[in-house]
């Protein structure tokens, strides 16, 4: 069981208060109708499933109900940080470019 810092409540809480909400920053195709079968299938079903540092979403379901970004190591379970979705996106994009 982790402890997770909720950037909206400004508090570190136990995992029991949160729900996992999948990989972060999967962009929904802007024009789904124009997406090919393969592109749409990729969006629907393909996930990075990274071994190591992974950007994911958690929702503070028992608290403020906000979804936020968590950078977590899927091997060591270490949490590098948590951010609001908007804050996290900048970091995520910077890392993706690097």
């Amino acid at each position: 069981m982790f402890q997770i810092h909720c950037p909206h409540c400004g508090a570190t809480r136990e995992e029991e208060e949160f729900s996992y909400a999948g990989e972060a920053y999967i962009a929904r195709p802007a024009k789904p109708e124009e997406a090919t079968e393969a592109e749409w299938g990729d969006y629907l079903f393909m996930r990075k499933n990274t071994r190591g540092w992974f950007w994911e979403q958690w929702q503070h379901t028992a608290g403020c109900r906000k979804v936020f970004a968590v950078k977590r190591n899927t091997v060591s379970y270490e949490i590098a940080g948590t951010w609001t979705l908007a804050e996290g996106k900048e970091l995520y994009l910077k890392e993706s470019e690097a």
Binding site: R28, P29, E33, G41, R65, S76
Partner: protein
């Protein structure tokens, strides 16, 4: 006093408090402070059980959590606990225990015969032998299960209770030995919130067993008492004894189980105190002072009753005042065991110390042993223990200096107890539960923790491989001082002093050679509980198992309730030898929780019985109970299922409820539906995106059925949403889907469309909903409501109105899940009970009939209305469900799931589609889940066409009806299909899934 009781100055038993207890029905005496094991040994009881595989006689080997053999069943009936280790069961007056093994009896065991043929039962025997035929397996299994296995699970309810307690501390110290106590003292003095847990009935650890230890110039136990007194005086320190930390998880969450009352006679247990308590401890920092456990050496017949570890022999003597034997052989390769020999000799036993080393221990120890009358045999090993149900002696061999080969014969000595010491094994389990790794220390012959610990964990004492008390305390002091600096505290205390004596290096021995090729001499056990011998590990390696994890699984080494505490290192070493690799390269198997077994009661805590899971009730609960409702659980809600009258069966009650509703008026509690208030300038746009149907033209005062798809185009929820104002909607969801849908809305809004100005507020619990259903429902409402024009023209189907019902503000929706004229009255739930009773009163003249979920299901199935999760299963699109009418393909925004509706797989013509079924025999009610075939041919592979999703007897139609999903079903109306269930085949005709009132006249009435 029995023959084995001796009086020791160091003993922790109370000779003035004698106790009586029973083992296997026979009465014995012991003392307060005894464990069941020490009391049994004191009474000369040696045979405690039979081994798992070969039925070999077994006795007590250890003195604590490491015990592999002495598994007992404690007490009977509701209090019984299986497979407790006799070494950990504290004796109390009237205790009753039985052996857990031996079939048909302990003294005559059938498997014992099998043991004679054990060379034919190598590892993998069961897999290799009972391969087939497959049909015979249940027969084999029954016999094997009866002969194998240990205790019996309790069948009666547990009369005691259990609870959980959460802790948040600065420092958790695991282990209350000298090092743990010192760590807690330092943390406590520094003002940190500190918790110390120790497994045993009192703190002290090895100091309880070692009568010779001295700290700061005083007897170690005196120092221990001083530490305990100091800790108890500090308000920031808590000490929990009888508390085993059994698991370490991420971010320093440690679980520990406290045996609060198990040590008390059953009659003395306090009814308001839990039997056991599970502590969930979140610690900023953990200090692991978990110590070390002595392992035995591996030699022939080393599993005979009366063969123990040297540490056990020393503990029974010094702590419990019990000599394990009057004529004792002690086999060792290290200096530390000489103390055991000295202590036993001092207590009057005749001791022969057999040291595998040619020169034995340090000179001062050799002298001391000789002076005490201990007979010394240097450079010898034991080839084979003699005796059957009790060890009677041993055959010795002479060893070469490397201890790898036998150089000659040795004497055969008689004895009533044989002890051995293969050195200490650090208790690294908790360090390793969460990915920590121990390393092999060749000098100390143990896997140990690195001195620096790991993130958030300090290690202290023997867990690092420091066997000397002085060096252990010094290391503890340094390690904990560093931790204090990390907390920003100043370590000021001085380290306690204990002088470590000169010792001779240990000779590396695990398997004592007997001069024969492995497998040809007497069986030399490595893992007692799983009957794994040295030869079995060699065989596993010969059969090409290379990884220690595979060797473990093939041989069962290290499984079981002791988790290999005695056996693992010996097993790894023997595997290393067979593989021709250093131990460090073989490594260890993975340490996983739990360190020792934990009862289900402790794990469940108060989450049992009526608080196992939340039971959610509506405001009308007492109304339902008073009318005799039976309940079913729907998404944690307790919903009335049906309301039997007199001796009615469910079938009769449901028929009556259905007919009353269709012919007059029924009433149902619909409060459990999820309700979400949706408001904001973009609320309508949001609905357009989240629902498959269109919301642009819904006016205030109107309701609409909405279908929610996941992004894969499959139906995930449905419900009616009312337009309150242009920017304000009131959504209902399925009962089970309420929380899921709210989170779904939040996630899409927050992650994908944060620019939309809309908010969602759950009002599920605020509104209480009474559904008044049937042709007389309007008449009932008329009696209760004067401010809403209820006429068919003014208040149409799918309209809603605010008004006053029975004097209470209400929101009335004219919606229907039955196809009848119906109204749902929503009020503040505090008025829910009142409104329900008012409706019942007003409906009396129409014989208003309350109905539950079963009747609701029949009524909706008669209309072909789906229930998400029953008629759909996450793989059904709206097209599959024949609900294309609820998909607004022309909506401008590509709503959730829309693109997927044109995926090649979603548009396959042979997808399963929702249809109705009429059985040929109208009396047959098909089984839900029954498979549907195109022909009567059931030969494999059968041509499976779909399955029945909903099936009922319809009293209104006077026949059975069913809903089903059938491949290409929408084009198969009129076809005959064959439904197979419970060994019978029923022909049925594919029909429309709307069975009643296909034109929808009734609901518009």
């Amino acid at each position: 006093m029995s023959a084995y009781r001796v009086s020791r100055a160091s003993q922790r038993i109370n000779e003035k408090a004698p106790l009586t207890f029973r083992f296997d029905g026979k009465k014995y005496k012991g003392f307060a402070g005894d464990t069941l094991a020490s009391a049994l040994i004191a009474n000369g009881v040696k045979l405690i059980g039979r081994s798992f595989k070969y039925g070999r006689p077994r006795g007590i080997v250890g003195h604590g959590a490491e015990e592999p053999n002495a598994l007992i069943q404690l007490e009977t009936g509701g209090h019984t606990v299986p497979d407790l280790k006799a070494t950990q069961v504290e004796l109390y007056e009237g205790l009753s225990a039985t052996t857990t093994t031996g079939f048909p009896s302990l003294n005559f065991d059938l498997k014992g015969l099998a043991g004679q043929f054990s060379r034919f039962m190598p590892p993998g025997f069961y897999y290799k032998t009972f391969m087939g035929p497959a049909k015979a397996w249940p027969f084999y299994e029954e016999i094997i299960r009866k002969a194998a296995g240990y205790g019996r699970a309790p069948v009666d309810p547990d009369p005691e209770f259990y609870d959980h307690l959460h802790h948040h501390v600065d420092v958790l110290v695991v282990g209350g030995g000298a090092c743990g106590l010192w760590a807690a003292t330092l943390a406590g003095r520094a003002g940190l919130k500190t918790l110390l847990v120790d497994e045993q009935s009192e703190v002290g650890g090895w100091m309880l067993s070692d009568a010779r230890a001295v700290i700061d110039g005083k007897p170690a136990m005196k120092w221990v008492s001083e530490r305990l007194a100091e800790l108890k005086s500090l308000s920031n320190v808590t000490v929990l004894t009888r508390t085993t930390a059994f698991a370490h998880h991420e971010q320093n969450l440690v679980q520990a189980v406290e045996l609060v009352q198990d040590h008390l006679p059953i009659a003395q247990r306090v009814a308001t105190t839990p039997r056991q308590r599970l502590h969930k401890i979140r610690a900023h920092h953990v200090v692991l002072a978990s110590g070390a456990i002595e392992r035995p050496l591996v030699y022939g017949n080393n599993d005979r009753p009366g063969v123990l570890t040297a540490a056990a022999g020393q503990t029974y003597l010094n702590r419990y005042g019990v000599a394990v034997g009057r004529k004792v052989l002690l086999l060792t390769h290290n200096d530390a065991s000489y103390d055991t020999a000295l202590d036993l000799a001092e207590a009057g036993s005749r001791v022969t110390l057999i040291d595998t080393r040619q020169r034995g221990a340090a000179a001062w120890r050799l002298d001391a042993a000789k002076k005490a009358g201990v007979e010394l045999l240097l450079g010898y090993g034991i080839a084979e223990v003699q005796g059957g149900k009790a060890a009677s002696g041993a055959k010795l061999v002479k060893l070469d200096p490397s201890c790898l080969t036998v150089t000659g014969k040795g004497p055969t000595l008689s004895a009533d107890a044989i002890l051995s010491s293969g050195g200490l094994t650090s208790t690294v389990h908790l360090f390793c539960h969460n990915n920590g790794r121990p390393y092999w220390n060749e000098e100390r012959l143990s896997f140990v923790t690195p001195d620096e610990g790991r993130q958030g964990i300090s290690v202290a004492g023997a867990v690092t491989g420091r066997w000397g008390l002085g060096e252990a305390l010094a290391q503890t002091h340094a390690s904990v001082s560093a931790m204090l600096i990390g907390f920003g505290r100043n370590p000021s205390s001085t380290c306690p002093v204990s002088e470590d004596q000169d010792i001779q290096p240990t000779r590396r021995v695990f398997r004592v050679p007997d001069g024969k090729p492995e497998g040809h001499g007497a069986k030399a056990l490595v893992d007692f509980q799983n009957d794994v011998a040295a030869a079995d590990i060699h065989l596993a390696v010969r059969e090409n198992y290379r990884s220690i994890e595979h060797v473990k699984r093939y041989t069962a080494l290290g499984f079981g309730t002791d988790q290999g505490k005695l056996s693992n290192v010996n097993g790894f070493a023997i595997a290393a030898e067979a593989l021709g690799m250093p131990i460090s390269q073989v490594g260890t198997t993975t340490y996983r929780p739990a360190y020792t077994p934990v009862t289900f009661g402790a794990l469940a805590g108060s989450h049992v019985g009526d608080t196992f899971d939340p039971r959610r009730y509506t405001a009308m609960q007492s109304s339902h109970v008073s009318r005799g409702a039976l309940f079913e659980t729907v998404g944690q809600w307790m919903r009335p299922w049906y309301f039997p009258k007199g001796n009615e069966t469910m079938h009769q009650a449901v028929d009556r409820e259905c007919l009353a509703t269709r012919n007059s008026v029924g009433v149902m509690d619909a409060s459990t539906l999820g309700k979400i208030d949706i408001k904001g300038p973009d609320a309508r746009e949001f609905l357009n995106r989240i629902y498959s149907n269109a919301w642009s033209k819904l006016d205030p005062g109107k309701c609409r059925y909405g279908l929610m798809l996941d992004e894969n185009g499959m139906v995930m929820d449905d419900g009616v949403t009312a337009c309150v104002a242009d920017d304000h909607f009131y959504m209902t969801t399925t009962t089970g889907g309420a929380a899921r849908v709210l989170n779904w809305l939040e996630r899409w809004h927050q992650t994908e469309w944060p620019e939309l100005k809309v908010r969602f507020t759950s009002v599920t619990d605020h509104w209480s909903t009474t559904a008044v259903v049937g042709p007389k429902s309007r008449a009932v409402l008329k009696k209760l409501c004067g401010d809403i024009d209820l006429s068919a023209d003014a208040f149409k189907f799918m309209d809603w109105r605010d008004g006053t019902i029975a004097g209470v503000p209400a929101r009335v929706c004219r919606i229907s899940f039955s196809g009848e004229l119906a109204y749902e009255i929503n009020v503040d739930a505090c008025y829910g009970h009142y409104i329900w009773e008012q409706v019942m009163e007003a409906g009396k003249e129409f014989d208003i009939t309350p109905y539950g979920t079963e009747t609701m299901h029949v009524l909706r199935a008669e209309k072909g209305f789906i229930i998400v999760g029953q008629d759909s299963d996450g793989s059904m699109s709206p097209i599959d469900l024949n609900m294309a009418w609820a998909v607004g393909m022309k909506k401008p925004f590509s709503f959730l799931g829309k693109r997927s509706l044109s995926r090649s797989d979603t548009t396959r013509s042979d997808r399963k589609q929702l249809v109705g079924l009429y059985t040929e025999d109208p009396k047959v009610v098909l089984a839900e889940g029954a498979q549907i075939l195109s022909s009567r041919n059931t030969q494999a592979p059968a041509d499976m066409q779909g399955h029945v999703t909903s099936s009922y007897h319809s009293a209104f139609l006077g026949r059975s009806i069913a809903m089903a999903v059938v491949k290409g079903g929408l084009k198969r109306e009129g076809d005959t299909v064959y439904v197979w269930a419970h060994g019978k085949m029923h022909p049925a005709k594919v029909v429309s899934s709307v069975f009643v009132d296909q034109e929808g006249v009734r609901q518009h009435g």
